[in-house]
C-alpha cells in the first residue's frame, strides 16, 4: 500500500500488487515480467486453466461484466489494468470513483473499446498528419448502403466494440450482402462502416506512457493479418524511414493527446499512395509487441507494468532485425507442447506457448527469431511456427 489509500504512487513509490482484468496470454507474459520486480500480478480469471493462472499469477475468479468481481480484483491493489477490452467502461468509471487507480483511465480506454468513438475523437484532435479511414455509424442495413453509394463498394462493416482476432470484421461487396451482417432491427452488436482501403502495408507502433507524461516508443512493426487476425510481424517494418518516423510521430501524439497510460498499440494502414491512416488503438500489451521480448532490452510487458505503476520506463532500442509468427490452432493440427523440441531445432527460434488447449483458429503461442534480415527471421519463424501447429 502506498501514500494515498490505494497504494498507487505516480512518484514511483513501492508497489505490491497489480490487478489485471483478464488472464489470457497477455496476462501470462505480464506475470513473467512481474516476477522480476517482485510484484504480484492478480488476474481476473475464468478458471485455474487460464494461461496466466497456470503460470502463477494470483487468481480472482469472476467475470469482467460484474462490478462486484472487479471490485474484489481491484481492492488492495496498487493499480488496475486490463489485458482485454471486454470490461464495461462504466464499471471502470465506478472503480475510479470508489478510489481505485485505473490505468489506462476509463476515458482513454474507451477509445480502444468503441472504434466509432475513437475515430470521432481522433479526428477532432487535429493532429498533424493524422487521418482516419472514412467511416459512419450503422444502425440499419440501409446505412451501409448509403455509405457505400458515397464511397464505393466494397465497404468494411465492423463491430464498434472489441473485434478480438478479427471477429466482427466483414468486407461487404454488394447491397445484397449487407443483411447477412447487419440485421434490420435490434441485434446485440453496434456496427460501423468504413471505406475499404487498398493497403500497401499494415504497421503498428507500440508506445509506453506513464501518467507523468514520460513516453517511449518501440520501432515500428509491419504486421500481416489473415481474416482480421494478426498472424505475423516483422521489426522494423518494411516501409521507408520517413514513413516510419511519421507513424511514430502520429502514434506518440495520439497517446499523449488522449492521456493514455500503459502500453498502447497504435495500428495504422499504409495506403498504396503512401498515406498513413490510423486504424485502431489497443491499450494493453499487444500482439504487435511480442517481438520486444527478445528484440528489445525491455519487453512491452515490463514497460506496461512500469508505465501503469508510474515507474521509469526502460530502453526500447531494437537489437536486431526480428520477426514473430503466431502459432494458431489449425484443423487437423495438434497441441504445440508436443512439438517444442522440433521448433527449437530451427536455429534462433524462441518459442512462447500460452498453455491453452488446442482449438481451431485459436492463438496458442508465438515464435520469434532474430536474424541479419527480417526476411531471414520471418522465414525461420514461419518454419518453427508451422512445426508447432502440426499434429
Amino acid at each position: 500500500m502506498g501514500s494515498d489509500g490505494h497504494g498507487h504512487r505516480d512518484d514511483g513509490g513501492p508497489a505490491g500488487v497489480v490487478a489485471m482484468v483478464g488472464a489470457g496470454q497477455l496476462a501470462r507474459m505480464t506475470h513473467q515480467a512481474a516476477v522480476d520486480y517482485g510484484v504480484t500480478l492478480r488476474v481476473l480469471a475464468h478458471g485455474a486453466d487460464d494461461p496466466a493462472v497456470v503460470a502463477g499469477a494470483e487468481p480472482v475468479y469472476g467475470t469482467a461484466t460484474s462490478l462486484d468481481d472487479l471490485t474484489v480484483l481491484a481492492d488492495g491493489a496498487d493499480v488496475l489494468t486490463m489485458d482485454h477490452e471486454l470490461v464495461p467502461n462504466d464499471h471502470l468509471v465506478a472503480l475510479e470513483r470508489s478510489g481505485h487507480h485505473v490505468r489506462p483511465g476509463p476515458a482513454a480506454f474507451r477509445l480502444s473499446q468503441d472504434k466509432l468513438a475513437a475515430r470521432s475523437v481522433l479526428e477532432a484532435l487535429g493532429i498533424e498528419g493524422l487521418a482516419v479511414p472514412a467511416h459512419a455509424e450503422v444502425c440499419r442495413p440501409k446505412d451501409v448502403v448509403a455509405f457505400a453509394e458515397a464511397h464505393g463498394w466494397p465497404v468494411v462493416v465492423k463491430a464498434r466494440g472489441s473485434a478480438y482476432d478479427g471477429r466482427g470484421v466483414h468486407v461487404v461487396t454488394s447491397p445484397d450482402a449487407v443483411a447477412a451482417v447487419v440485421p434490420e432491427e435490434g441485434g446485440d452488436i453496434a456496427w460501423m462502416v468504413e471505406e475499404h482501403v487498398e493497403l500497401a502495408a499494415e504497421v503498428a507502433v507500440v508506445v509506453a506512457r506513464r501518467s507523468s507524461g514520460d513516453m517511449v516508443a518501440y520501432p515500428v512493426v509491419g504486421t500481416r493479418q489473415e481474416d482480421g487476425m494478426c498472424v505475423e510481424l516483422v521489426q522494423p517494418a518494411p516501409i521507408p524511414d520517413e514513413l516510419a518516423r511519421g507513424a511514430t510521430g502520429i502514434a506518440t501524439s495520439v497517446v499523449e493527446a488522449v492521456d493514455a497510460t500503459g502500453i498502447v498499440a497504435v495500428e495504422l494502414f499504409v495506403t498504396a499512395d503512401g498515406t498513413l491512416l490510423l486504424n485502431e488503438l489497443a491499450m494493453r500489451p499487444h500482439n504487435s509487441g511480442h517481438v520486444t521480448i527478445e528484440a528489445s532490452e525491455t519487453s512491452q510487458f515490463h514497460n506496461h507494468l512500469r508505465a501503469v505503476l508510474g515507474w521509469p520506463l526502460g530502453p526500447t532500442d531494437q537489437r536486431s532485425p526480428a520477426a514473430t509468427v503466431n502459432v494458431i490452432g489449425r484443423s487437423g493440427g495438434g497441441d504445440p507442447r508436443r512439438r517444442v523440441a522440433d521448433a527449437l531445432g530451427v536455429p534462433g527460434a524462441h518459442v512462447h506457448l500460452y498453455g491453452k488447449g488446442w482449438r481451431p483458429g485459436r492463438k496458442l503461442g508465438h515464435v520469434t527469431v532474430l536474424a541479419e534480415t527480417t526476411e531471414d527471421a520471418l522465414e525461420r519463424a514461419r518454419v518453427a511456427a508451422r512445426l508447432l501447429e502440426e499434429a
Copy 2:
C-alpha cells in the same frame, strides 16, 4: 510422458514436467523460462514463501535429504534436476535406479558436491592446459599444518561439500589459527586445504550441454567475490582474448569429459602470471550466468531446461558489454521491493528480485545493465543495486 516410462526423451520429444530439487532464486528464474515452453516446473520447497513457489512453480513440500520426498518430486516428471548441491548423491543414484531421469547424472553431479573428489577426478582427466590449485584432504588440524609447511602460509581451508555463497571457506594464516576452523576430532564437516593463490582475476564459463553431446558456451565472465560470495560480474571478462579462449576450451573439455548435462558453471582463477587454475564446478544455473537473461538471446535458464530435456540449445552470443551486481541484505538496509522504482530510474537498469525476506548477507536480487563498455555497465548496475539495498 514420453517413450520410455518416465517421459524423458533425448530424441527431443515432448516434455510436461521438469522436477527441480530446490525452490530458491535459481528455480524461480527457471520457472519464468519454463512458462515460455509450456513446461511445468515442479520444485522441492520448504514452504509457500520460497522464491520459486511465489512465482508460480508447482510445489512439493519436503527436504532434499529425504529420499521419500525426492521420489514424490520426481515421480511422473520427465526429468529431475537441481538448483543446489545439498542433496545426497546416494539419493540421486537411487532415483536413477528406480528409473527416474536425473540430469546432470549423479556421477557428474558429485563433482559439484565434493570439491576434493572434483580436484582428483579433474587432474586425472589429463586435459591440456587444465591445472588445479595444490590441495590435500584434511582429517585433523595437523594435516593443514603439514600442507602449509610444504606450500607456505596462508592456506585456504574449505569444506569439501557445498560452500554456497562462501560459507565454509577460510583463509588460515598460521598454525594457531587452524583449530578455530578444523576440530581435533569429529565435527560434521569434511575439510580440504589448498594453496592460497595470488589472483589477478576470477572468471567463470557457463556451458550448456545435452546428453547427446551438443554443447554451447557463453562468453567468459569476470567475477568479483567478497567473503567468498559472488557480488558482481562483467561480461566479457577483462582478460586477454587468448586467455578467454583458453578458459572456454578448458571448460568445455571438462564438461564433456565428466559427461555433465544441463548448465555447468566452470569457475577459474587467473593467477598473477597469467595461468588458469580450475577452481570449482557448479552443475546448475549459476550466479555467473544471470547476465545472460538480458545479454544473450537465450538465457542460462532457458538453456538449462533445453539441455536437461535433451532439446536443441539456443544461441549464446553476447549482444552488448554487460554487468550484473547482486543485491545483498545489508545491516541497516531494507526490503528491496520498496526501492524498485528508484533502481529503474538508473538508465538501463534491469531489476530482478527474488521475493525473499530481508536478512543480512542474503542475496535478495540482482541488477543487470547493458552498455557500451563493461565499466559503464558495472558503474550503473552498482548504483541501482545500492539503491535497492537501502532502508
